[in-house]
Symmetry: C2
Subunit: 210 residues, 2 copies
DNA sequence: TAGCTAAACGGACTGCGGTCCGTTTGTATT
DNA sequence: AATACAAACGGACCGCAGTCCGTTTAGCTA
């Protein structure tokens, strides 16, 4: 017989800051996660992402500050949790959605479409995304960023770009970073349509040189 | 006679965080600036930019913390002051230096050369540059960034790129951001030579489509 | 040289993200 | 129902960037 009792659904590797609920979560923990996400959405809705401090959130949700960090690991982790729904929806659109953004269209068309979609997405959720990126040691290695990068790289290869698709994908991704786009729109008053059009130009030329 | 005495060299508009010495600076202020810059370089040299805290710096330089912020405005401002020499040297190279990076060479050659130079520059000073960018509300509007952007835009126009050169310059500049390049080299072990080569590919294709 | 004033000074203070650790609680086991 | 323990809890605590304001001083003027 085993002398080391193991909790049935225990998943130690999952760690905090993971998505919705790491399989088996104690009832109070799950309740607090919902309480916190709810309060966080409330604060962001009322006063914007910048106004969301971890202390305020804890107070609003009626839990201790330690609990907030236990659930989400960091402020960036919390922001990512708030974004996870919108992010997943975006991902499934470009991976499984209808053409031209999803599979079935020529790679260049998909690149153009996914860029335009990304611009709109950032205009809607960019504030949270920027908050998630800020103070993120590893903003490039987070699952969503890796998936996004891989997708761009795959499309580039499919479009016949043989010259270092990995770095090309990095370069193109940098072009669509939330901070950059929000700055262009918010500070310089660039029309979002222009952003999409510029992306089209850029990606068309990159692919055309192949 | 004027009832409002004005200090001779007073330049109220200069503000803090400006370059070397805003014209007429009180002797003690100038001394403390040197003391602080010197101590800062020492700390960075010993332990890296991340180890430089404003409290430590104040203690090392033997001045009050308030003085540090009076001189440099913020941590980012201090980092920019530390960088200003290297930055100015880089700027004068691409603006007045010998071809192909300076004037005299075809625009595409200049773009290729300036990108390669930027990569090397970031490998040398990127840690400071990243620290300066971090926690900078306005990293895109700082003089050096504006000049850099304008220069890229000018070269693009000269190379015949008529499609939104302003946004194209933004996109290309994003490709060479310190955080991105340092991540590629430091985390993914990308050979710097590959970065320059990839830049060459990118900019060649962008210009070729004109 | 004495006096005056704007500028510089310094360090206590605030607010924030993040950590630590003693206490409480959910849940499986008997 | 009683027991046991891993997990969750909470809030005091820490380090840091940045601010405030009463005090000191450089340097002009008389």
């Amino acid at each position: 017989m085993s002398l080391i009792p193991i909790r049935p659904g225990a998943q130690p590797g999952a760690g905090p800051a993971a998505g919705p609920a790491a399989e088996s979560e104690r009832r109070d923990a799950a309740r607090n996660r919902e309480l916190l996400l709810c309060a966080a959405r409330e604060i962001v809705g009322e006063s914007g992402a910048d106004a969301l401090t971890m202390d305020l959130l804890a107070r609003r949700a009626g839990v201790g500050k330690g609990t907030v960090f236990r659930r989400f690991g960091s402020r960036a982790g919390l922001m990512m949790a708030l974004l996870s729904g919108a992010e997943a929806e975006f991902q499934s659109r470009f991976m499984f959605g209808p053409p031209p953004i999803g599979p079935g269209a020529p790679a260049l068309d998909r690149l153009v479409a996914v860029g335009a979609a990304r611009v709109s997405w950032i205009l809607e959720f960019g504030e949270l995304a920027r908050a998630a990126d800020a103070s993120a040691h590893n903003r490039f290695d987070v699952p969503a960023a890796v998936l996004w990068h891989r997708h761009l790289e795959m499309l580039l290869r499919e479009a016949g770009v043989t010259a270092d698709p990995w770095l090309m994908a990095s370069a193109l991704a940098a072009t669509l970073e939330p901070e950059l786009l929000l700055h262009a729109v918010g500070v310089h008053g660039i029309d979002p349509e222009r952003l999409a059009e510029s992306w089209r130009e850029l990606v068309t030329r990159v692919v055309a040189g192949a």
